[in-house]
């Protein structure tokens, strides 16, 4: 915990020198989300439902998606992992220290601007919540926290696995953007896709658990989504465990990039 404080203090010191960059990053993060929301709004001018989902429900799902995605983006900023740590050899420095290597790398790359996306997501959920007139129970915030945690773990597991691949082989440059595109599927109700894609998104690359399934817990849709929602933390635990396993084995195999 004190380690975390130290890293944060360091981060703030470096970032305060480039204050404008912080806002540029926040703004361009939000712009991507704005584009997706505009897409939803424009589309619903021409139809009243998307495979049985109303506009407010789809917006709600998107708002939910933004929350775990923002949290994930803050703590798992591993996009340039293989470049920075493997190719440039910074991994050697990390490994000489006592804290777990993944924790160190996470903390070195903390990216607080992404958190603002999560806050905006919460606000979007809130407004869709009242538009739908959903009941608010005392346990809802607790359930939300649990589900978000599960969703974050799913993302964390998948991307940790991907980052760890660079321990085993050369930089898999194409895979991360590929994953980024697949996760786009998870933002809309899975019911609109065919069986194969639905299976993929539920069990193989469970991006549906970072959007539709957990969100339907609050939407009271009675289409089985509520049951799936409760699976979110379990799926998260499984994928996170896989990620950690691949990572730890990769670190053992790691021999440095030479020189």
């Amino acid at each position: 915990m004190s380690l975390f404080r130290e890293y944060m203090a360091n981060y703030i010191k470096t970032k305060l020198t480039y204050r404008a960059d912080f806002w540029v990053e926040v703004l361009s993060d939000l712009l991507g989300s704005a584009m997706n929301l505009i897409f939803i709004f424009v589309v619903f001018q021409h139809t009243s439902s998307l495979a049985g989902w109303s506009e407010a429900e789809v917006v709600f799902v998107y708002g939910y998606f933004m929350v775990p995605f923002g949290v994930f983006g803050t703590f798992f900023n591993l996009w340039n992992f293989s470049e920075r740590y493997i190719v440039k050899g910074e991994m050697d420095r990390v490994l000489t220290r006592p804290a777990h290597s993944l924790v160190q790398i996470m903390l070195e790359n903390v990216d607080p601007p992404s958190m603002i996306g999560a806050v905006v997501g919460l606000a979007i959920m809130g407004s869709a919540w009242s538009a739908l007139g959903l009941p608010f129970d005392w346990y809802d915030p607790l359930v939300l926290a649990g589900l978000v945690l599960g969703s974050v773990l799913i993302y964390a597991g998948i991307y940790t696995t991907l980052a760890a691949i660079s321990f085993y082989s050369d930089a898999p440059t194409g895979i991360v953007p590929l994953m980024f595109n697949i996760q786009n599927y998870g933002r809309y109700p899975v019911q609109i896709y065919n069986k194969a894609i639905r299976f993929l998104l539920t069990w193989l690359l469970p991006f549906a658990f970072v959007g539709v399934y957990p969100a339907s817990f609050f939407l009271d849709r009675q289409d089985g989504g509520e049951m799936m929602a409760l699976l979110t933390p379990a799926v998260g635990a499984v994928f996170c465990a896989i990620g950690l396993l691949v990572w730890n084995r990769g670190v053992k195999r790691y021999r440095g990039a030479g020189s």
Binding site: L27, V43, H46, L50, P172, T173, L178, N184, Y193, I197
Partner: protein, 264 residues
């Protein structure tokens, strides 16, 4: 002199060929995107026959051809130019006996040509096997379409060059570049055909170059715009190409006077 520029196209083409992994994953990414939007649009249509003037079949074709056209006209000239400016290599380039902007344009074209032959053509075959895409039978329509995506490339590259040149005037144009990318995907019609926007937004977009990049060529390809209207669409593209030359020349002039290399 011309042969030097042609060589630039060839070199970039070969360079792209060297990075094959990106090529394979690129094909899958485009297939995924087309798939995602295909299913989304199918759900949007539901039981409706036509929306925004597009029938279901036209819409499927529209999505597929828009993404394929995007493969051709898309390039990272803005980023390349901004990097050249930031690390100062633009100064070296300026001393060489060619036009820097034309060089960039040629490199972008080499990239586009690579994707057109090795990406768009096979991609279109695969996509039309998976999804119910209707290819036009009229050879003239194919011809107009290819002329039109050439202009899409020109206009998109012009916008990229302008965004890239902004690096001369501000120290960090990262945000601007990202904004431009989002704006082009959303407003040019890759994600939503322009006719789907509310009327006020649609007429507003008519005054921007964005629809000329994707919406017009894809609409001609699907037959949504035909005959004399198709020629008019081509004229609109030509007009935008001509108009956009002016701000680029102005910026280029001004930037040569302003050039200071950060840390250089």
């Amino acid at each position: 002199m011309t042969s030097a520029y042609l060589d630039l196209i060839r070199i970039r083409f070969l360079m792209m060929l060297a990075y094959r992994v990106n090529y394979y994953s690129g094909i899958i990414i485009y297939a995924i995107n087309i798939g995602a939007y295909y299913f989304t649009w199918k759900a949007i249509y539901g039981d409706a026959e036509t929306l925004g003037g597009f029938s279901v079949a036209q819409m499927t074709t529209y999505i597929a051809v828009s993404w394929m056209a995007r493969a051709f006209y898309f390039n990272n000239l803005d980023r390349e130019i901004a990097n050249d400016i930031r690390d100062g290599s633009v100064a070296v380039q300026m001393t060489r006996p060619y036009n820097y902007l034309l060089v960039k344009m040629m490199q972008g074209f080499g990239e586009g040509l690579f994707r057109l032959t090795l990406f768009m053509a096979p991609g279109m075959v695969v996509v039309s096997l998976i999804f119910p895409v209707e290819l036009p039978t009229d050879p003239l329509r194919w011809a107009i379409f290819f002329v039109m995506i050439w202009f899409s490339f020109l206009i998109n590259s012009q916008l990229n060059i302008m965004t890239g040149l902004f690096a001369f005037f501000v120290e960090n144009n990262e945000g601007l570049m990202r904004m431009k990318r989002v704006a082009i995907d959303l407003l040019s019609g890759v994600l939503i055909p322009v006719t789907f926007f509310p009327a006020w937004a649609e007429s507003l977009l008519g005054w921007t170059p964005f629809p000329a990049i994707t919406y017009l060529p894809s609409s001609v390809f699907t037959g949504r715009i035909a005959d004399t209207e198709a020629w008019q669409a081509l004229l609109v593209q030509m007009a935008w190409f001509a108009v956009l030359i002016v701000p680029i020349l102005v910026m280029w002039r001004a930037s040569r006077r302003r050039l200071f290399v950060q840390g250089g």
